[in-house]
């Protein structure tokens, strides 16, 4: 049976989230670093990378997430496949820059009446953009894979984010799986009962999508009422729900974050 594309997307999304929890429990370098130090280091790395415009330096900093992933026992195949999608999309949308940037020609082709010339400047801009996107996505992926969502919530709480917002993140994350499961059931039921032309947009498919959303909305709303009442019955108070503390920063955490920030800052200044 052919699995519909939308269903596949949902399953893939949920599976990738489950994988996060598995990897954050491994004993690797990044897993032993304090989440606050990791957050500061990786956010700084991403921001500083925006100021590095040399292709060779960008290629050099791309080694950092790769080395950190290796030392954190994150399977390289999974890490590379997970970080490939967004840079590929970025490469596709920046393809025209190869031909639109004026400069020294490195390749020319005539396709009918169209004369396409790739310039060195265009190629450099294209590569700088794509490599930078990969670096940012891989750094962020490394942070999430090595930390896990539960510790990220604790980190938010320790950073004085309002408890309501932390609770909303927590509920959204937890019930995302339930929503995905319900959406799957509805989509499979619909696929089993109807024929849909998936090649082009049509009014019926949009009406179906609206109806599915409405059905899911009603189910979710009714569940939310049950969950809320159950939580209240067990003494839930939003103010007391996120009294979570993070372990104190150690010297190695400070060293990890500061060494990365200094190294990246020096590269940006060169």
């Amino acid at each position: 049976m052919k699995v519909p594309q939308s269903l596949r997307d949902l399953v893939e999304g949920a599976e990738s989230l489950v994988y996060i929890e598995d990897l954050s429990g491994k004993k690797g370098l990044m897993q032993t670093i304090n989440p606050l130090a990791k957050l500061v280091a990786i956010t700084s790395m991403i921001v500083i990378s925006l100021f590095i415009s040399s292709l060779s330096y960008l290629a050099l900093i791309c080694l950092v997430p790769l080395i950190l992933a290796l030392t954190s026992r994150i399977p390289m195949e999974h890490f590379l496949s997970r970080t490939a999608l967004i840079p590929t999309f970025a490469a596709v949308i920046s393809l025209p820059v190869l031909f639109l940037t004026s400069g020294q020609p490195v390749f020319a082709a005539n396709i009918g009446a169209l004369n396409l010339t790739v310039t060195m400047e265009g190629l450099t801009r294209f590569l700088v953009f794509t490599v930078r996107v990969w670096f940012c996505v891989s750094s962020l992926t490394l942070l999430i894979l090595s930390t896990g969502f539960d510790k990220m919530l604790k980190l938010l709480s320790s950073l004085k984010v309002p408890p309501v917002i932390v609770q909303l993140f927590s509920l959204t994350y937890r019930y995302f799986f339930v929503s995905v499961h319900e959406a799957q059931s509805v989509l499979i039921a619909k696929e089993a009962r109807t024929y849909v032309n998936k090649k082009t947009i049509n009014l019926q498919s949009l009406k179906d999508l609206g109806s599915i959303l409405a059905a899911l909305f009603i189910r979710t709303y009714e569940r939310s009422e049950r969950v809320y009442l159950a939580m209240k019955a067990r003494g839930f108070e939003i103010e007391n729900s996120n009294k979570l503390t993070m372990p104190a920063l150690r010297i190695r955490d400070v060293f990890f974050a500061s060494s990365l920030i200094i190294a990246f800052s020096l590269l940006a200044l060169l």
Partner: protein, 190 residues
């Protein structure tokens, strides 16, 4: 609100086919805004965007502010304000007028969010390779197609909820202002 945010997060993964074999997904700003209200809707979309950036690498951290402005503020507030104004002007009693109002709100919200994104991209030139003259029309045109789809889906969603669970929509800060709910609640207040 957390559970509904999770639902809309999952709903954003549902693709529908577009022209030329490409697919698109809902922005959801109009649906979330009209049902939860603009302020709760804005928080809801922001949480979805943060989770998308952290869990899928989609959107990213450095562009989070721009994404929140485009989809969380413009994409939610414009449909809500438009719907609110049209409701005051037309006071819909028939479904046709109500559905037209929902469609216009969702469509304009999508297109304005896209125009805002196009403007930000255009202003990023020369770092971004296309200037305002290219980025804005391309984004507006592309998202006007998605806007039509979003409008139809939002009509069906809210229309179905009005038929099956009007009590849910009665709690909405925007939809509760509809004459249907106002006329129903007035006698109770007296």
């Amino acid at each position: 609100m957390g559970l509904l945010t999770a639902l809309f997060f999952a709903a954003m993964l549902l693709n529908f086919p577009l022209i030329g074999g490409t697919t698109a997904h809902l922005l959801g700003g109009a649906s979330i805004g009209l049902i939860l209200g603009p302020f709760a809707g804005c928080i809801s979309v922001t949480i979805i965007l943060v989770l998308q950036a952290l869990l899928f690498g989609d959107g990213g951290l450095t562009t989070l502010g721009a994404n929140v402005l485009n989809m969380g503020i413009i994409g939610v507030f414009i449909p809500c304000v438009l719907f609110f104004v049209m409701n005051k002007l037309f006071k819909p009693k028939a479904n046709g007028t109500l559905y037209a109002m929902i469609f216009i709100s969702a469509f304009v919200g999508d297109v304005f969010a896209a125009i805002a994104a196009g403007t930000e991209l255009g202003l990023s030139a020369p770092t971004f390779q296309y200037g305002l003259s290219i980025a804005v029309p391309v984004m507006a045109l592309n998202h006007s197609i998605i806007g039509v789809a979003e409008g139809i889906v939002t009509i069906v969603l809210i229309g179905t909820l009005l038929k099956l669970r009007p009590d849910v929509l009665e709690k909405s800060p925007i939809l509760s202002k509809l004459p249907f709910f106002q006329n129903k609640t007035e006698p109770k207040e007296e």
